[in-house]
Subunit: 185 residues, 2 copies
DNA sequence: CAATTGTGTGGACACTGTCCACTTTAGCGC
DNA sequence: GCGCTAAAGTGGACAGTGTCCACACAATTG
């Protein structure tokens, strides 16, 4: 039933429409209420899936770095790889990206649970410390400005900056990654 | 008629509902179509207003810095002031903030036109150069990573990080501003 | 076998954006 | 003043949406 995540893929959170999802499964609209309390619950499930997909791409990118852990170049490359994967996901899967960060209209409930992406970034930073590149005094809370920078760029590139030529966009992505690389050295 | 921007203020872009807006004005739904082609056109008008409000706060924040232009401390304080105003707007006017960056469902059309906030940041950075703090070699395109950092933090704080205690949130904001301040020195 | 539970169905309701033809109102030159 | 035009509002419809209700069927379990 979460196959209604194709809707999110192609049109973002607003496109995950209960009736359309049931139509795709070939069932009557109300059947959805046997699996999800709400349209919001359905969206939450799809969002968790989207977060998982993002985390998967990030993990993939990191694991492609051949240099071992605790080595300076490996740590540096892995940090760059998480960032690049994040930006690439936002660029190639805009619907899922938006959905992953869609905040529930009906708040409350437990936390949104997108810990996975953050944890990957934290791991990369910890590795930078244990590789001796990043002084442990500068480590605390460093994940947040970095996450903010990458996330903000991803958002702006598909928002106010969306009409920039593609060449310019990738240049800004590279600039951001370099910026971060410089900040942690 | 843009008084339907109260809807955006209290509930974000999805809350700017055509019929509700006309109801507030005390008129029949269809009357809206004499002023806006579309619900999307109405939303676009509201969004421009929201962008203007954000730019206004940023300009206010900058103008409150007493130190004159082209002076080192003035330039530094003004940069910090734009950033702080941005984050404050996102925190105190979440509905308008979300609306300001809502991308039109029905794309095309001319550019979204939120040049004003970017231009204020650019002015602050240019002032930093003319005050001799920021080397002109490092100036090009610097507005984008900075904007991304501030914007990203604003978004994350009302998204995945929304359940952090307020104290932590303001600490992250301060950390981000300090981070930027350090990057331009 | 009987009962309970999970899943799907059919019919409704209120709400939304949008289209159409029509009426009212304001402003204008004559 | 009169009549015209353009702007604004009205009323009635339609499809699409989320959601609720009572009911039907299947599988599972006692």
């Amino acid at each position: 039933m979460q196959a209604g995540l194709e809707l999110a893929r192609s049109g973002g959170p607003d496109a995950v429409v209960l009736r359309e999802a049931t139509r795709m499964v070939g069932v009557v609209p109300n059947a959805a209420y046997r699996h999800f309390e709400d349209r919001d619950a359905l969206l939450a499930a799809v969002r968790d899936e989207a977060v998982g997909a993002l985390a998967g791409r990030m993990a993939d990118g990191m694991s492609k770095v051949r240099a071992g852990p605790h080595t300076p170049t490996g740590a540096r490359l892995r940090l760059r790889a998480v960032g690049r994967a994040y930006l690439e996901f936002a660029r190639t899967e805009p619907g899922l990206f938006d959905t992953a960060f869609a905040l529930p209209d009906h708040p409350g409930g437990p936390d949104t649970g997108q810990a996975a992406p953050l944890e990957l970034l934290q791991a990369a930073l910890d590795d930078l410390v244990s590789a001796g590149i990043l002084g442990s005094a500068r480590r605390p809370n460093l994940e947040y400005p970095i996450w903010a920078g990458v996330h903000g760029l991803a958002v702006l590139l598909r928002g106010p900056l969306r009409s920039l030529p593609d060449r310019e966009k990738t240049r800004l992505e590279d600039q951001m990654l370099a910026f971060i690389g410089a900040a942690v050295s």
